[in-house]
Symmetry: C3
Subunit: 138 residues, 3 copies
Amino acid sequence: MPHYQKQLAVRTTAKSLRKVTTAVQAAVAESKIQAGMCHLFLRHTSASLTIQENADPDVLVDLENFFAKLVPEWEKYIHSAEGPDDMPAHIRTVLTNTSEQIPIANGRLVLGTWQGIYIWEHRNIPHQRELFIHIAGD
Amino acid sequence: MPHYQKQLAVRTTAKSLRKVTTAVQAAVAESKIQAGMCHLFLRHTSASLTIQENADPDVLVDLENFFAKLVPEWEKYIHSAEGPDDMPAHIRTVLTNTSEQIPIANGRLVLGTWQGIYIWEHRNIPHQRELFIHIAGD
Amino acid sequence: MPHYQKQLAVRTTAKSLRKVTTAVQAAVAESKIQAGMCHLFLRHTSASLTIQENADPDVLVDLENFFAKLVPEWEKYIHSAEGPDDMPAHIRTVLTNTSEQIPIANGRLVLGTWQGIYIWEHRNIPHQRELFIHIAGD
């Protein structure tokens, strides 16, 4: 079965969402696969993936604010040795996704008009995050 | 590789879960694929997918009530131009799923006895939602 | 297309996360697939899957504590006939995942250093849970 694999290193900024739609679409084009699936897998437990609104950047700020409030840093966690933002980052990752899967038709991701693909950094400092892309199809 | 793609237009009702198990199973039958994967992808950012209890409809009401309380409309959001239900709908989508993947064996989805597939409308008015189905296997 | 399917029966303990990374990796080895995708599907609506920190067991306790507080048993639910822990278990399942997908490269899951695969039992008593594994690739 034709398939394609690639790992991207993505630099994040603290507690925010970084759009990777263009990089993923470029990988789909490079794979030359016309109909199939694009699987994204983030190799981390304190950052995650989500597919969300790509137009109004305020949506991303509201998302970050909601999660900061839902999973507060000042809460008492047993796992605290790696800093007050680490356990909240694990919980936020559990509440979102480690992987995303997007079908491909006519050589393109079938994303809706308003859908963008994001890596969400949940830690308080920027990181280099590894995004593994597996594309399979015809 | 044998594969099958189809897009369904599904009419939703406000803030509730609509079961699509039968329609998805019909697509699996139409694909004639006996062993493989069924990938569902919802092309929206204010409605989502989930797999949940298919027997007692009260579960669906409790799910909706829990999310309405967890992500209140009366909260202050920066992104408010599209109405008080829009930003909560985005957050509720992030907390659930844009895609679901279900294995196929013997020509049928391997859903457990109590599992149903649902589209969850998070907006206050009904919408027509596009569900993309990709099935691959043998 | 080469593929492999297997169903594992996994015994859980009450309200806790059980690591299944080794069993899943064994299935990948048995499949002899070198490059592809490993799809995990849990056939239940009151237990779920997640990929999280595999080193410090305190992280798992904090995760359980967070979810117990976010989705309290003492809350009033309409669906209550199966016990006070049943509806919270459904909600916790919705907030986490029924399936996980992990790419395979060089015959191994591409998990990051700190990533483990877990079945999360959300009910108050141990269960036998069915984990369906579908692996496809070359």
